[in-house]
Symmetry: C2
Subunit: 670 residues, 2 copies
């Protein structure tokens, strides 16, 4: 870097802020002490790694991305041990700095693989396996999805057939479609694997169960007999990871390798059923609230990059007599980015509140109050989907708002996109998730008709419909919440009616369900969105002073943008009038102008170090052009001035063309 | 491939079609003879290249993608010569097969570079330069965009200062932001370059002019003195291309290297102005109609892949007592894909009709009827933007509709996306384009008030507003067109009023413009969309028989989906009622069910050979799983069973962990 000064345009932005950036950051990271700790942990890694000058990961081929990720993990191991991190948030921030927005090959080992052993292995099995897993004798992954089967678990084809004579299971993937496909770390890294397979004993299929299968030799790392394993090939992102395939050809494992905390198979092949099958619900909910948080964090990064760049970039004029302006001064650019800043905050808040709600519900559930489970489950499915959609789409909009430079890996946004977009299809495809939520919403309508009381999150369905919004130019937050709840309730009741009518007319329920599923998804989306808005309003109301003024408008912007985007759904039943829609549109552009001066400070508050943003455009100091220049000089294409490809391909091509035009007068210089 | 049979699910789809696929294909490719010719040309290349077993381009690092593209171009050269292709469409199809959905390094040479010489060089210059360019002695590119400056041409910093003593121009890029950045082929391939620079002579700046600059030695290919040139680094796509940077440090070029067809600088430094500056308008329009066509073609490919895969993929059940269903039988999946099939057709038709409109307008313009120019220019800007947005977003939706496998490069859709998404920001950033269109629309309102007659495409603005739609369950196409024109007219008039009111209140026009620019973009989008719908309806009405029935519903689906997506804009002024919106929603799901049986045939009609789709999921024969398997086996990560990375990084990491847990009982096998 030739210049260490801060770009004056971005420096001026920070002076314009009407609130204290730290006040907001401390809310996001739970107070000054934890914020400092986060900064300490991340800087420790970033400073250590800065010396190593890793190449920008997104520019490397698959195998080099994989190598770099292994290298980063290896170098971080001793650091992590010195810190003796126990707190999960601290570990999260530490690892975020180790490989920013990258899925490392050991990721599934220390999350899903270890979790599954902890949760689903018997005490005896845990005593045997956990030390092997913690000491990385076993490096594991979790293999469920097959090439031909994802969301629909019962459709999986892999079988584990018990042989009473040898007291072994024989695991088999009989077809190409039964190939385990996609698990992280499976291709090259893992030597063990939890395999989900149909348990068959005494000729009876007892459905999906987990089995621990060793797939590679613990010493030579070569695949064991009957195992065909490898990497599935390059993807949009996640190329630091060896997402893998696995075929099992009659692989024998001891009976004891079935994870037996819940179900068991006795020596004689007798199957023993689990006592309670609902207990795994909770973990799924926690995983999903994690996905919501990741979507929020990805969008926060992208919007930090795009907002900062939009204050440094000057392009075109507003006043033809004056100079070129910062692009964030254009209303159209504000419209692209400020609602996304609001979305990043809304999703962050939703993820935190959902986790808190989960924690309090878990306590009740542990006391036997299982009635909290279904609404929690429905909420988690809907939020997982909504946040995946809003986060992913938002990241891409940030990239496009950076103009042409967004398309370069120098912007850092393509890497973020590649890392966040799979959340739309993994851990339950989003549309399927919304339909799960819808299933519960429709059930609530039936409960209502039967006079039952609805659980907390569903109570708004009890309000009478009809009537119209009282929204006016003040754009009162409570009125906005009411609008969202009204829309959701209207859509839920309407589609429930349709299903009921269809049933009365003799239509099969499953056909009626499918024939109304577009609207069911709309209803579930509306329900989830209402939760996010309400949750955001509630959190903002706990803030104080100037920060509260700003954050109320951020919250308002999120709510108003969301209404205008789906305006028809608010107008169809006359709830919002044409006059009110004009008020909303006017309110929207006023909010953009109001929040414009705080834009940079709002994204600064996310507190991402440059090393994590990994972006030439998003630098804190705004020195974007020098950073673009440095990025370009480091392109692998610039290692030689004249590439071998010139001699091998271009020159012969040119000479072929020259021969076709022998009469052309050749010049040495133009 | 183990199996050469056609997957029975997809075979059944083709039997269900209610129209003849060839009839539609012939419309798309201008008759049976031209269709056969297209097939012949593409198969010739594809068969020739199939033997070479090129690696899937999107999985390769930047430099190998570049090499492969050069290799492909080199191998195609002799084939192309044998065919002696003159027709531009034929050349397009041929090249599409040479490097499907890839920007080759010579692309800018044979398009913009050659075009610029043809259009802007004097006769004398053409005689000298065109033979050099055609024979590839000169390999050129076109350098306009700078690192700090894109859309706003006057903001470019590079200067060409005439020195009367030496009779040379001195070309200089004085700052880092003035670095020419992004031109295709600039980094490594080109030895010449048309440089756009501020012409300064006798101390006066005459604005941007084109200069031919040699940047590399014609023999050694080394950069010349004063030239710093290289590749800008990896991007989301276009990595087959060496998009480059160029700094010019007081580079001297002869006076004769300024392109002098229009402006001239005489020996003594006198500047001679061009006679007519509007003549370049037309070419820009043609380039933009090309971009519309590319967006249509990209979406057509993506939707072919996603629809075919959705009939082969079976997942979950509708009837719990029956088997898993083809995912396209889910209404939600139909909702994701069938409107995109319709969009692909709508954009294809719009591109064709726009080109035809351009051709007929050009004839009038040549006769001096310059009044056609502004509406043509406004239309081209709006359609460029609309098609870029709809095409790009549509391609990504297709990918997501393929579930997890869409994320793998095996799906082929990420490559298509990487190739189409830059169209949103290049050749005029989309929002800026829409604002250009809006500028003209507002001008039309002023003309109307002054009693002037509007040109053809703008006449709908003359209709009185107010009133309400007559749309009913028939969803009459003319009523749909009327709805779109009504919305556009309403938005245009409304925002024009606002600008006028602001002016009356003493607001500066440029501030009022910016303060209303969100709505101006909405108005211009509505105008462009109305054109696409109207143009689609007109084209469909020329079709006959069963095909017409189907295509009317495809057209209807496009129009209805577009209304529901922006329903608020149709309802705010009471034009569409709540009852009508329910009718539209019901109509939408009916249309999905109606078109479902023809889905595969509608995409088959696009007539893409497998070699061009380059997708495991989109194969004509539906053998997707075998193709996924083959793709995975070819991953560079599978070249060795145990990678060097294991020994270099993973094993030391594991051993480090082992040492921390000395008490763990090590096992050889689980």
């Amino acid at each position: 870097m030739a210049s260490s000064a801060v770009n004056p345009d971005i420096a001026r932005e920070r002076q314009k802020a009407t609130f204290d950036v730290d006040q907001l950051t401390y809310i996001l990271y739970d107070g000054p002490a934890k914020t400092r700790r986060k900064r300490y942990l991340q800087n420790l890694v970033l400073q250590d790694f800065a010396k190593l000058k890793f190449k920008p990961v997104a520019t490397l081929p698959h195998e080099e991305q994989y190598e770099q990720a292994l290298d980063r993990c290896g170098r971080a191991a001793a650091l992590e041990d010195n810190l003796a991190l126990k707190d999960l948030r601290e570990l999260y921030y530490f690892r975020e700095a180790v490989a920013p927005q990258v899925a490392v090959p050991y990721g599934v080992h220390y999350s899903m693989f270890m979790d599954t052993l902890e949760r689903q292995a018997s005490e005896e099995q845990k005593a045997k396996w956990l030390p092997l897993a913690k000491s990385y004798r076993m490096v594991g992954t979790y293999a469920q999805t097959e090439m031909g089967h994802g969301t629909f678990l019962r459709g999986l084809e892999t079988t584990a057939t018990y042989d009473g004579k040898t007291k072994e299971f024989i695991i088999d993937s009989p077809t190409i479609t039964s190939t385990k496909y996609w698990p992280g770390g499976l291709g090259k890294t893992a030597n063990c694997c939890v395999v989900m397979a149909h348990l068959i004993t005494k000729g009876v299929n007892h459905g999906m169960h987990p089995f621990l299968v060793q797939i590679r030799d613990f010493d030579t790392h070569q695949p064991l007999q009957g195992i065909t394993v490898g990497d599935i090939g390059a993807k949009i992102g996640f190329n630091s990871n060896d997402n893998g395939f696995l075929r099992l050809d009659h692989v024998h494992i001891p009976r004891e390798n079935m994870l037996m905390r819940y179900s068991q198979v006795l020596e004689d092949g007798t199957y023993v059923k689990p006592k309670n099958s609902r207990l795994t619900y909770g973990t799924m909910t926690l995983i999903r609230s994690g996905i919501v948080g990741q979507a929020a964090r990805a969008l926060s990064m992208a919007v930090t990059i795009a907002v900062r760049y939009s204050t440094v970039r000057r392009q075109s004029k507003i006043d033809p007599g004056a100079g070129e302006v910062q692009v964030l001064d254009f209303q159209t650019q504000q419209m692209k980015l400020l609602p996304l800043v609001a979305t990043a905050y809304a999703l962050t808040v939703a993820s935190r509140n959902m986790t808190a709600f989960y924690m309090s519900a878990t306590k009740k559930i542990e006391k036997g109050a299982l009635e909290e489970l279904p609404q929690l489950h429905a909420l988690s499915a809907g939020l997982k989907a909504l946040s995946g959609w809003e986060g992913t789409e938002g990241v891409e909009q940030c990239r496009l708002a950076c103009g042409g430079h967004g398309y370069s890996h120098a912007s850092g946004i393509p890497k973020i996109y590649g890392n966040v977009t799979p959340s739309i299809t993994y851990e339950g495809e989003n549309t399927v998730m919304m339909l799960q939520t819808a299933r519960y919403l429709v059930k609530c309508c039936t409960m209502l008709k039967q006079g039952e009381k609805l659980p907390t999150l569903m109570r708004y369905l009890q309000q009478p419909l009809g009537g119209s919004s009282k929204l006016n130019a003040r754009l009162d937050l409570d009125q906005l919440v009411e609008a969202y709840e009204h829309r959701a309730a209207r859509l839920v009741h309407e589609v429930s009616e349709k299903l009921e009518t269809a049933a009365k007319q003799g239509q099969k329920p499953y056909n009626a369900w499918n024939a109304n599923s577009v609207q069911l998804v709309d209803a579930a989306t509306a329900h989830s969105k209402a939760y996010v808005v309400k949750s955001f309003v509630a959190t903002v109301s706990t803030m104080t002073g100037k920060l509260r003024q700003v954050m109320e408008n951020v919250c308002r912007l999120y709510a108003v943008t969301g209404i205008i985007k789906c305006l028809g759904e608010f107008m169809e039943d006359g709830y919002i009038s044409g006059l009110q829609s004009a008020t909303l549109r006017k309110g929207l552009t006023d909010l953009l102008a109001d929040l414009r001066p705080n834009a940079v400070t709002l994204v600064d508050a996310f507190d991402f170090p440059d090393g994590i943003l990994d972006s030439a455009l998003g630098r804190w100091d705004g020195q974007v052009y020098q950073a673009l220049w440095d990025f370009s000089l480091n392109s692998s294409m610039n290692e030689k001035q004249v590439l071998d490809a010139y001699h091998k391909y271009q020159r012969p091509f040119m000479e072929y063309q020259w021969k076709k035009h022998p009469s052309v007068t050749v010049v040495a210089r133009l």
